[in-house]
């Protein structure tokens, strides 16, 4: 809808706060909104501007972003305003521009190491804690909404459109990560709903391919995980979490943390073995060199 509306170079002036922005390029779209890279005329800084005609969902997101502002895990919001164009009212949020890539496009190019995957899950679990402890559910967690900030070297959540109060209904979801779509439970705003979506994020990262509840069953996914992933402890943890979300957030985090440490340790060991080999080679090489030199000396002396 904004194709003609927000071409690069277009100027946007907020109706209420009168701040001016220039559109530089389109960053992406999702649901009812589109996101553009804009430059503020006031401070010449770059921002991401999320534009939508759906004032209700944009307002909800604004309230939540403000509530969770200051948490490193969540993108900062600066203002909410409107502009008119051809008789329509558009609402927008001004957000931090994050230089980087979302996890979905990143993983499409590169397969992540197990250590990185477990690290990401740990960070996400930490992020969930903040939401859960203030009485909210993240809801629509997915790779597309997780950004790698390449400048600050952080993971950022860029969309809070799915956040709902505990006890309510999950309003926005993505089938690939949705508990009800996989027939593993209700679409209810409770902590275990988030733990399920997080487990599916983990599955998606390990498999490195799309998952789709309309074509696959949870049994197919479990089968695939068993084949792809050699780590039995991790596999059985995933199976438990898919089937019944057996563990709560703290237990889940503890288990992932243990797996992370084991993985790290084994990587260090691998490196040590490699260094051992290298030392060995250098030693052998120097030994041969020594003999050769002595031989040479002997010959010369003769």
């Amino acid at each position: 809808m904004h194709e003609a509306l927000c071409h690069p170079g277009k100027e946007i002036i907020g109706k209420w706060k009168k701040k001016q922005y220039q559109v530089l390029k389109k960053l992406g779209m999702g649901g009812t909104a589109e996101v553009f890279l804009v430059e503020s005329k006031l401070d010449n800084k770059l921002y991401a501007m999320k534009i939508s005609q759906d004032s209700l969902s944009l307002n909800r997101e604004y309230q939540l972003l403000k509530k969770f502002t200051g948490i490193a895990f969540v993108v900062n919001v600066y203002e909410m305003d409107d502009f008119h164009e051809k008789g329509n009212v558009y609402h927008y949020l001004l957000l931090d521009y994050i230089q980087g890539e979302d996890l979905k496009s990143y993983t499409e190019k590169k397969k992540l190491k197990m250590l990185t995957i477990l690290g990401i899950i740990l960070i996400l679990l930490r992020g969930l804690e903040t939401f859960h402890e203030t009485g909210y559910i993240l809801g629509d967690l997915k790779l597309e909404n997780i950004m790698f900030d390449q400048v600050k070297r952080q993971i950022k959540l860029i969309d809070l459109g799915g956040v709902v109060e505990k006890g309510g209904t999950v309003k926005e979801y993505t089938p690939a990560y949705d508990r009800a779509a996989w027939r593993c439970g209700m679409r209810k705003a409770e902590e275990s709903y988030d733990l399920f979506t997080l487990t599916m994020v983990l599955v998606r990262l390990i498999l490195g391919e799309q998952i789709n509840p309309t074509r696959q069953k949870k049994e197919d996914i479990i089968e695939k995980i068993k084949k792809t992933n050699g780590n039995e402890t991790l596999t059985s943890l995933i199976v438990d979490m898919i089937k019944s979300q057996k563990y709560n957030r703290k237990q889940f985090a503890k288990k992932i943390n243990e797996l992370y440490n084991i993985e790290k340790l084994s990587l260090i060991k691998q490196k040590e073995i490699k260094t051992d080999k290298l030392v060995n080679k250098i030693f052998k090489f120097s030994f041969v060199l020594l003999i050769l030199t002595s031989l040479l000396l002997l010959i010369i002396n003769k």
């Binding site: 004032s55 209700l56 307002n59 909800r60 089938p175 679409r187 309309t214």
Partner: protein, 247 residues
């Protein structure tokens, strides 16, 4: 809060994969529905193979006349589309009612309020949309062309039920398939009074065959909703949403 029980969202969600080809004019039927405070929203199912040769205008026209929203989707995404659409219909119906009231009271609608005060109203609408009772009739196209999609369609309705059951407000859901056993008829698959636990079994009565009598189906759904509302509210009459919002 007693009033809460009386204001009810009445909506029809029409799911179809083609044009109406039997019976009356579905756009006119949708217009009649809206006159009775029942919104008609539509979902057009696009064939995955044929690259949307032309968007079916009828789907847009019915939703326009019925005061609802429309959406196109592949059968694989039907679950999510029904979910989003039903939620959108509820919030926008409340929003429209609020706007109507604001226009009468202050001569302006929500979009003319500064963001801070608007936020407060929107927060209220958001909360209320989860609490207001809903009376929803899903009209499922069961014509011959749906044969390969009927399984997914059934799952989508079960999925919608999952979402609805987690709402705070009461939910009455009926599912009507069209055509019915005769050419220009439709068939109640799940009645408002049936228990939700029977839904899955009821939906197995969906037998795709025949043409697409859309107008007949809409008229029938209107009748079904009106009867149901009448029964539920006895002689008290139904309070319109506008009355609730201003009160």
């Amino acid at each position: 809060m007693e009033k809460n029980n009386k204001a009810v969202i009445r909506e029809i969600i029409l799911v179809t994969d083609g044009q109406s080809n039997i019976g009356g004019d579905p756009v006119e039927a949708a217009r009649q529905a809206l006159r009775k405070n029942i919104t008609v929203s539509t979902i057009g199912i696009i064939d995955q193979k044929e690259q949307q040769e032309k968007p079916f205008e009828e789907v847009i026209n019915i939703a326009d006349a019925g005061g609802g929203h429309y959406e196109y989707t592949y059968i694989d995404n039907l679950s999510q589309t029904i979910h989003t659409l039903s939620h959108k219909t509820v919030t926008s119906t409340i929003q429209d009612a609020v706007n109507k009231q604001l226009k009468e009271l202050i001569g302006n609608d929500l979009n003319h309020m500064p963001p801070e005060s608007r936020s407060k109203v929107l927060n209220y609408i958001d909360k209320y949309s989860d609490e207001i009772p809903i009376c929803c009739c899903v009209l499922m196209d069961c014509s011959g062309s749906m044969a390969s999609k009927i399984h997914s369609a059934r799952n989508s309705i079960l999925d919608l039920l999952d979402s609805f059951q987690n709402r705070k407000g009461k939910i009455d859901l009926a599912v009507v398939g069209f055509p019915g056993d005769q050419v220009d008829t439709c068939k109640v698959l799940h009645h408002f009074n049936d228990h939700f636990s029977e839904m899955e079994r009821n939906l197995y009565q969906m037998k795709p065959k025949g043409g697409t009598p859309t107008a007949t189906a809409i008229n029938y759904a209107v009748k079904l909703i009106e009867e149901h509302m009448h029964r539920g509210n006895n002689n008290n009459g139904i309070m319109t949403l506008e009355e609730y919002v201003v009160g």
